[in-house]
């Protein structure tokens, strides 16, 4: 028991559980860079496409007058997408190899659907960015790299596509690589890899391509099978946003009261001291309950029910956390936000904010700058400074209740929030919390 306790301390706060056999990735890139075709190729080559689906896209390809199988039709499932030959919303696709299961969010390239790209990337371990070898790094490549970086996606993989159209030339690949690398350095993104591919012909998708012997790195699929999964979400200590109070109120379980939720970060075991926020009192964990029995320890991202030693006032939106490294608690937060709505930000507006399991109201108290996603320049022109659809900027907010937060870079769960319109309830922004005064 003592050893186990020591173990969990040694493992430190970053001891979230990771999945070896599951990788979540999202695609990004400009329109017509071939994202859907590349995903279609991956599915096709790994025999993840069912025969009936293949027949259906064969029929649809013929109807479109295409001279070869249009693999993009595998993910562009909506009527409007097929009509226009573009991706409008994220399609989630699943495939497995003997080594891993993959969840792919195939996201749109059009600027107007950037919010759907953010939807796909927010839960990803890896962002796969396609660049057309003929066009090089374009504005959308930079925008998507920026967003993936802002969202804390740990791995960026750049597939330089359509190599067949540049004669499989090494120079074309290296030019994109160098250009993208210098932009990525400005983003502070750590892990960027590059693979030259032809999605159309399958070069370097599953196996090394005979057309590009100058490239000695892995092909796409072997790379995806080996890349580390998981995000940087677990760097803060134990965080448990209370989601639901389990109170049976039956004779058999008369006094049972457990706090249910998903562990946001860190690890916990019975006997651990925990701080209850915003109450500010400490207590100890009496037991970790699940339907399958009590656990000796649990870690993120498991969903569990925690029983406490003391009777305290705890409800949804409160947080149980490590008393030695608690989150910040404040009504004023500063954050980078992506604006999703056709209606621009109302600089004096009031919004609904959802942060962990807490819902409150938020008042915009200031716009620090709008970030040019192409040049990374900060537009701080005070007059008329605003955020419109797909803009990224730094905001200050004041909330009706204190938020219990960590910096987004250290903790995805306690560092993220959404804003919703108070009238229509539609989601208008995604936010990533920054420490006061610190720039992104």
């Amino acid at each position: 028991m003592a050893i186990a306790a020591l173990d969990s301390r040694l493992a430190g706060p970053a001891a979230a559980l990771s999945t070896i056999d599951l990788l979540r990735l999202s695609t990004a890139g400009s329109v017509d860079d071939g994202k859907s075709t590349l995903i279609g190729r991956l599915l096709y080559e790994t025999k993840s496409i069912f025969e009936d689906q293949l027949e259906a896209i064969e029929r649809a390809s013929l109807r479109q007058g295409a001279d070869q199988l249009n693999l993009a039709l595998l993910t562009d499932g909506l009527r409007a997408e097929r009509e226009q030959g573009i991706t409008i919303d994220v399609a989630y696709r699943y495939f497995a190899t003997p080594r891993r299961k993959f969840i792919i969010a195939d996201t749109p390239g059009h600027v107007q659907y950037t919010r759907n790209m953010v939807t796909g990337a927010s839960t990803s371990d890896l962002a796969l960015i396609l660049v057309d070898a003929r066009n090089g790094v374009v504005e959308q490549s930079r925008r998507h790299a920026l967003l993936a970086s802002l969202l804390g996606v740990r791995q960026l993989l750049v597939c330089v596509n359509k190599m067949d159209l540049v004669g499989y030339a090494r120079e074309a690949f290296e030019q994109v690589r160098d250009e993208f690398s210098s932009f990525a350095t400005g983003l502070g993104t750590a892990n960027v890899a590059f693979i030259p591919v032809s999605a159309l012909y399958g070069d370097n998708v599953i196996e090394p391509s005979a057309n590009m012997e100058w490239y000695d790195g892995p092909a796409l699929l072997p790379y995806l099978e080996a890349v580390p999964a998981g995000s940087n979400a677990g760097e803060a200590g134990f965080r448990f946003p209370v989601q639901w109070v389990v109170r049976p109120m039956s004779n058999e379980h008369h006094d049972y009261r457990a706090y249910a939720g998903q562990i946001g970060s860190g690890r916990v075991q019975p006997g651990d001291e925990v701080l209850v926020l915003p109450l500010g009192k400490t207590t100890r964990i009496r037991a970790i309950d699940t339907y399958d029995g009590s656990l000796d320890s649990a870690a993120a991202p498991l969903s569990v029910s925690l029983l406490l030693e003391d009777d305290l006032d705890v409800s949804r939106g409160d947080m149980l956390c490590d008393p030695f490294s608690p989150p910040s608690s404040s009504q004023d937060v500063e954050a980078m936000v992506c604006w999703f709505s056709e209606t621009p930000l109302n600089p004096n507006g009031r919004y609904t904010i959802r942060h962990t399991t807490r819902k409150a109201r938020a008042l915009v108290t200031g716009i620090d700058y709008r970030l040019d996603t192409n040049t990374l320049q900060r537009d701080t022109d005070v007059r008329g400074l605003n955020l419109k659809l797909n803009d990224v900027g730094r905001l200050r907010l004041r909330t009706t209740q204190p938020l219990l937060w960590d910096e987004y870079r250290r903790n995805r769960v306690t560092g993220s929030f959404i804003l919703a319109d108070e009238g229509t309830n539609s989601t208008v922004a995604a936010g990533m919390i920054l420490p006061p005064g610190e720039d992104w």
Partner: protein, 301 residues
């Protein structure tokens, strides 16, 4: 010390979170139950999310009147074991009230009519969230679906204008008359479901396993002989060893030729399948290229 979890454990943790989020964000949620394997998994996840307390929502079945008797037996037995509340609404009632009209022709199915009954029940009972077992791997329109999927006051889905859904911050905000469909199994595949059934030792309706059945062939599919589906003059009934991959309305759900009679055999079979779950078994998806999208826009499951 354990430092990794499996794909199934990660999916389970996510689905339990979604279940609890639904209970917490809505006043009157309901869990939709069809009698199939995905419903069976949903019920187990609800137990995991809320026991030892009772479910914070009732269970509702939209009964087409064309069900497999095995599915109805399973439903009643399972609900009784759980001690939870079951609501049944009948498509036949919607037809009798003149709210739904049976499609003409021998290939008619009540599958599409369920939408009317479902939306009427949501309005009648004032539900603001309906939990369903749909998965994104089933079909290309479902691949586009959010986990909290907004429906307007007509029950319509607008696939071109969905709410962005970032991280696990599900937005359940609605106005009166609107509702949200919740899909906790969004990220599960057919194989994940079967592996979970095995791991959790879940009971399923017997028709999921190989058995002898009187069938006939229509549009290249094996349909069960029943009162609901009269044979055309050129069709011939014969006995065959089959099982079902999905359990829906008898008139639109086909059997597959199979000798898989145990869970292990079924899992081996599913892992080797070269035809999709709905492609193999659903006549209703074959009306057009976007049949599912069209039904979903109207308010289908």
């Amino acid at each position: 010390m354990i430092s990794t979890i499996t794909n199934l454990q990660a999916l389970e943790a996510e689905s339990i979170f979604i279940m609890r989020e639904t209970a917490a964000q809505f006043e009157r949620p309901v869990l939709l139950f069809s009698g199939g394997k995905d419903s069976a998994v949903l019920l187990r996840l609800a137990e995991k999310a809320f026991r030892p307390a009772r479910f914070p929502f009732p269970i509702m079945h939209i009964d087409t009147g064309h069900n497999f008797p095995e599915a109805i037996e399973f439903r009643d037995r399972r609900v009784a074991e759980l001690g939870e509340r079951l609501i049944v609404r009948y498509v036949q009632d919607s037809i009798d009230q003149g709210r739904a009209f049976e499609e003409p022709g021998v290939a008619s199915s009540r599958n599409r009519l369920q939408t009317v009954t479902l939306l009427d029940a949501i309005r009648e009972l004032n539900f603001d969230a309906a939990i369903g077992g749909a998965r994104r791997d089933e079909e290309k329109a479902r691949a586009k679906e959010r986990i909290f999927s907004f429906r307007d006051e007509f029950g319509q889905w607008d696939p071109k204008n969905q709410r962005p859904e970032v991280w696990n911050l599900y937005n359940g905000g609605i106005r009166s008359g609107e509702h949200v469909r919740v899909f906790p199994l969004s990220n599960w595949t057919e194989l994940d479901v079967w592996r979970y059934v095995e791991e959790e030792d879940l009971e399923l309706p017997s028709i999921y396993f190989a058995h002898r059945r009187l069938v006939f062939e229509r549009s290249g599919m094996l349909m069960s002989v029943s009162d609901h589906l009269p044979l055309r003059p050129d069709e011939r009934a014969f006995e065959h060893q089959v099982r079902y991959r999905t359990v829906g309305d008898m008139t639109c759900t086909a059997a597959v030729s199979s000798s898989a009679s145990t869970l292990a055999e079924v899992i081996a079979e599913v892992a080797a399948f070269r035809v999709g779950e709905r492609g193999a078994t659903r006549i209703d998806d074959k009306f057009s290229e976007t049949a599912m999208e069209d039904r979903k826009r109207e308010g289908y499951f």
